[in-house]
Amino acid sequence: MEKKRINKDAKIVCNVEIRPGIFLMEVLAPEIAASSFPGQFCMIRAGSIQGFDPLLRRPLSVHQVNEKKGHVKFLYRVVGRGTKALAMQAQGELVEILGPLGRGFEVGKGEIPILVGGGLGVAPLLFLAGQLKGRRAVAIVGAVTKSQLLRLEPFRKTGIEILVSTEDGSFGNRGLVTEVLDRLLSRLDKEARNDVAVFSCGPYPMLRATHHLCQSRDIRCEVSMETAMACGSGLCLGCAVKAKDGGYLHVCREGPCFRAEKLSWE
């Protein structure tokens, strides 16, 4: 029996701009807080929208949960009208929310997880990092420049090892997160490579680079994919991405977290 998804209007606990154009929103949704796994997402729409434009809810990854309080956090960038409307919502107002949705990251029991997040890609990874407390694990988080690094403190609090990089070298390692990953993976011997698994979220080129780095070393890699979604719940078949074997996979059901080798990276 699958887990029950929740479809409701949830109250906003807080919704603050933590960087220019980047918001952290916390909503009261106890059932979703209790049943979400890292890598899963919700479909969300600002309750303040008067009318049918924008029409669709938007997919956002679950960023953190507080089961006790029943809170769920989302970290999002204002891109277009849907996220703009969300950003304009105040504490106490409502959002329409459906979730948790999709297949999250699957971390094997004995695995040493390496989390790789570029930019907003850290959104689902903080939730994952939080669940790895006490385990051996590394998170590589990066951004273009120091001021764009997101949520470093909460990452540090999880207790797992954090490697930071910026493209301009203004903080941490200079370079792309994938370059840090490359160096890290290169240091591993064959046996260690069998133990680690990479979990990655970010822009498509970053995911592809991550996949190739892992593939060439035979390291298990999961990526969180993005596509336009109408329903997020398997009804419309709109979220197809090309599969390795020639057919299609549906990001909202078979994903958003996929074993990278299942996808076509052409």
Binding site: E2, K3, K4, R5, N7, R45, G51, F52, D53, P54, L55, L56, R57, E96, L98, T227, A228, M229, A230, C231, S233, G234, L235, C236, L237, G238, C239, A240, V241, K242, G246, G247, Y248
Partner: protein, 308 residues
């Protein structure tokens, strides 16, 4: 049953041989095969579910991107991805049967004989209560124009399907025609038990940064609130032209929209895009409709219809 002291309205209806408990149906392609909604909607509370269009062979569908949001609308070019009739029967139908969900199977084909084959294959199956024939598909033998844009081919498909089965047959009309009444009349003449309308309007969008059509398939079908005025108009016209029941579809998102179609002459309605946005929408629409009828002293669906 009474509601706030007033009598609960009778919202049952008949579509040919098929009787439904209420007029709120789920539109094909927006509710999967039902089981995708298992935890979100109790489908037995709705009039019926029209499952995703089924073809003789499985189809993988169109290359992505397949969907694109437009003002108050949704463009889709799913490309009729479906599991094919065999897997539908073995993998999907049993769940619908087991849960006693009133199921209408939407069928599509590229030739009259494909439609006929599907109808024969679904005839008499437990759990299949009616067929909805999607005639917006390309007629491969005749140059690829849709069956539904020509009264002759639309009637041919209808005749073939009726001949091949004893199920109630609903023909789903395309709005991309000059005169939808002409098509409706043709399929009525060919024996259709009901017509449903509208399917999506053909549209497209261009990615101005990428300098290319947004959708992998170039063209897509436009659905959602944007198309509602066109759909209401066509339902109004068709309901005044044919004597068989009309099922209204197109942008229905609230109970008020549903009432609009029922007043225009529809016997039932289907909720499509609104279910994608909010899976709770169909049930809200049903309850809103009942409340509206109670508030305004309508005792049956028939009384809603505006007769001129």
């Amino acid at each position: 049953m009474t509601k706030g002291g007033k009598k609960e309205p009778d919202i049952r209806l008949r579509l040919g041989q098929l009787s439904l408990e209420n007029p709120v149906l789920l539109a094909s392609g927006t509710c999967g095969y039902g089981n995708e909604l298992f935890d979100l909607v109790d489908l037995r509370n709705l009039g019926a579910i029209v499952v995703k269009g089924i073809s003789v062979e499985p189809r993988t569908g169109n290359p992505p991107p397949r969907i694109h949001e437009t003002p108050c609308g949704l463009l889709n070019a799913i490309g009729l991805e479906n599991v094919g009739i065999e897997r539908f029967k073995t993998e999907r139908l049993p769940w619908l049967q087991r849960h006693k969900i009133k199921t209408i199977v939407n069928i599509l084909g590229n030739s009259v004989s494909e439609y006929e084959k599907m109808a024969a294959c679904l005839d008499g199956l437990e759990g299949v209560h009616a067929l909805e024939v999607n005639i917006s598909c390309p007629n491969v033998k005749e140059g690829g124009a849709a069956f539904g844009i020509d009264p002759k081919t639309a009637a041919e498909v209808t005749t073939a399907v009726k001949r091949a089965c004893s199920l109630p047959v609903i023909v789903k009309l395309s709005p991309n025609v000059t005169d939808i009444c002409e098509i409706a009349t043709a399929v009525e003449g060919a024996g259709a038990d009901a017509v449903s309308l509208i399917n999506t309007l053909i549209g497209m969008a261009i990615d101005i940064r990428g300098r290319r059509p947004v959708l992998g398939n170039v063209f897509g079908g436009l659905s959602g609130p944007a198309i509602r005025p066109v759909a209401v108009r066509m339902v109004w016209q068709v309901a005044r032209t044919v004597s068989i029941p009309v099922i209204g579809i197109g942008g229905i998102s609230t109970y008020r929209d549903a009432v609009e179609f029922l007043m225009a002459g529809a016997s039932a309605i289907q909720v499509g895009t609104a279910t994608l946005v909010d899976p709770g929408a169909p049930e809200k629409i049903l309850h809103g409709l009942i409340d509206f009828m109670v508030r305004n002293n309508y005792s049956s669906l028939d009384e809603l219809i505006i007769r001129d």
